[in-house]
Symmetry: C2
Subunit: 389 residues, 2 copies
């Protein structure tokens, strides 16, 4: 096991009705808040009214900034930074999914930095301070509700990069599984794939003696695999949503990666897909993860056998390691497909002639991937080819 | 799944050499520290010298209070409170196992309270504030390094009670598996049993739809069961100790109990054992947990079948639920025995005539246990009888 530091001070407030107390929860922190949200689904669901009523009851002044889209844009972040500075706001409430929360974190960091906030995303600067951010999560997927991560797309050049810093972890997050009831099927499926991918990125490692972490990863994967199809079938299954929502928060709060070397190759390969083709991150991951697995499994066959047996219950012909490993990968691909997610690049309109450009974009910030290093454009191209059709 | 709040802000600094930087880590918090430790094993191991050197290098003034024993005593806590007040100390560093850390937390809370610190332990008062506590853990067992819990024995009446409060969670804890190398076999075994018991108390629940938590519990149990015998066999097995130390911290930081109703019946039954017979808490739990299981398993047979199958791999004659459940319990008892722990009350000198008094002590603070309520002296007596010989 590698040496590590684990620090996750986000308070998780889980269950029904937390949103009605949001004003009360914020009061000790601030009385002048940026209320950040997305495309307006919170107005339809009634959550907007609940939040504004609670803020008003608590005597908290708030300025609204809606309009965050999936794959949140740098332009909106910069708009937020300007508002916060102008209004002398000292706290950001993000109500929505990972995109809104990521956008809020970028604003929180940008406000405290004299330069261009994009500097953080191109490794030109490190976050030293940030405003406190709290969240009310409406889409279990990105895990941003308790992570220190933020992924932003630069609308000028379509580069999409992430940063990770403990200072960006929300001070608290409200998780009410009832908010998930109104999600359309594709968003449910994307979320499930996204959180599974967060576990995968940490699970697959070449570090030895990581059993505690292995078991946590495998357990979360099995819980997600069990409840995922249930929420696809019945969007009002509170208990299944509760599993998904709790598992999704744990998948990305850093816990699962402690003591191991995380990979993040598939995320690196996916980011150009959602930036260029405008698809959801989860859909891109459903395509890229099985392809990545096929590209890397021989590197550590034992790990992929363990994955197939412990996560997917593969147990026939166990002596044929390669067949077992491939069956685990196949079951992963089949599972994503069964959720209604795309499985090949052709399905999202990508052409073979795009691969060089996608690979160049993926490697735009340098090499990535630890399980197998992706440090050459041709390696990335090869994985896109596996994912093609 | 039940509604819940999860908040664990303790920073875990895991791996080799963390102790050499203790002064640096404390500096942002304090320059006047109580250095609290146990019976002097840290002097033999060289840890005492490392800690004092690092504190001196950082220019931190410290006052020593050693002498904490297993089952930490109220009298030492009161001594600590007096020192802290007299010396205007504002930070407590606990170096040792759970007893030292629990003692430090009680001091931290007592200093900020005008009444008798024992009030907290008899539910006469609630902790409203506490000094910050940091730890260097030398015995993986109690999980006190990241919990808000403290268990203290009143040396006047031998009552032993615990409190739980987020304000008592350490600000940071240094976990270096190398510190475990010098632990004698019985302490290794007690620690392993203690941390498994922390998982058990959370795992066994009558709340439905707790799959994410179930999987985390089962995974940690399997990791402990795999590495436990390794550290018994070879006290210098760093990798196995790393699993044990990390699993032990996660077993008791509150994570595993979220969304479920925790039980704590076996702990309630054990506390009088260690208080009256002076045995280690882990040894008492090795006796009481299998007895408690035998007393309660019919209450939720399905859960005990799940336990037997998922944790112990029982899979023969799966249709005979009762036999499967009992085999899981038997395997638990055998495992504790294989570590060299006592399995019956006769082994620690208890007599049948003691049971009424033990039961009265266990119920001294009121009924306990959620999986099966223990609210009558005769129920507790019955479990002691199962544990007798």
């Amino acid at each position: 096991m590698n040496d590590f530091v684990f620090y996750c001070p986000t308070k998780i407030i889980f269950g029904k009705g937390g949103e009605d107390k949001i004003g009360e929860y914020i009061k000790p922190f601030s009385s002048n808040v940026l209320f950040h949200y997305g495309g307006g689904s919170i107005k339809k669901s009634g959550l907007y009214d609940k939040v504004t009523a609670s803020l008003k009851n608590a005597g908290i002044k708030f300025t609204e900034l809606g309009g965050v889209q999936p794959n949140p844009l740098l332009s909106v972040v910069n708009k937020g930074i300007k508002i916060v500075k102008d209004q002398k706001i000292d706290f950001i409430l993000a109500v929505g999914g990972g995109s809104v929360i990521d956008s809020a974190k970028a604003i929180a960091a940008g406000v405290k930095y004299d330069g261009d906030v994009w500097d953080f995303f191109i490794n030109k600067a490190t976050v030293k301070a940030a405003l406190p951010v709290a969240t009310i999560l409406t889409i279990p997927a990105a895990g941003s509700e308790s992570s220190g991560n933020s992924v932003i797309t630069n609308d000028e050049n379509l580069f999409k990069f992430g940063i990770s810093n403990d200072k960006l972890r929300p001070v608290f997050s409200i998780l009410n599984p009832e908010f998930c009831f109104s999600l359309p099927p594709i968003q449910r499926a994307n979320g499930i794939c996204d959180m599974m991918a967060h576990v995968f990125e940490r699970y697959f490692t070449n570090v030895n003696h990581t059993e505690t972490g292995d078991k946590l990863c495998e357990g979360l994967l099995k819980a997600i695999i069990n409840s995922g199809p249930k929420v696809l079938k019945n969007e009002r299954d509170y208990d299944a949503w509760a599993e998904i929502m709790w598992a999704g928060a744990l998948a990305h709060n850093g816990l699962l990666g402690r003591g191991r070397q995380e990979d993040w190759g598939s995320h690196g390969l996916e980011h150009p897909l959602s930036a260029v083709y405008g698809i959801a991150h989860g859909s891109g991951l459903a395509i890229m993860f099985p392809a990545w697995m096929k590209y890397v499994y021989k590197n550590n066959l034992g790990f992929f056998v363990q994955f197939a047996v412990n996560v997917w219950g593969v147990n026939d012909n166990l002596r044929d390691f390669e067949a077992v490993a491939l069956e685990g990968i196949e079951k992963t691909a089949e599972f994503f497909k069964s959720l209604g997610l795309p499985s090949k690049l052709t399905e999202i309109g990508a052409k073979e002639s795009d691969f060089e450009d996608l690979a160049a974009k993926a490697l735009g910030r340098g090499p990535f991937g630890a399980f197998k290093r992706i440090d050459k454009v041709e390696y990335a191209v090869e994985i896109y080819k596996i994912a093609y059709k």
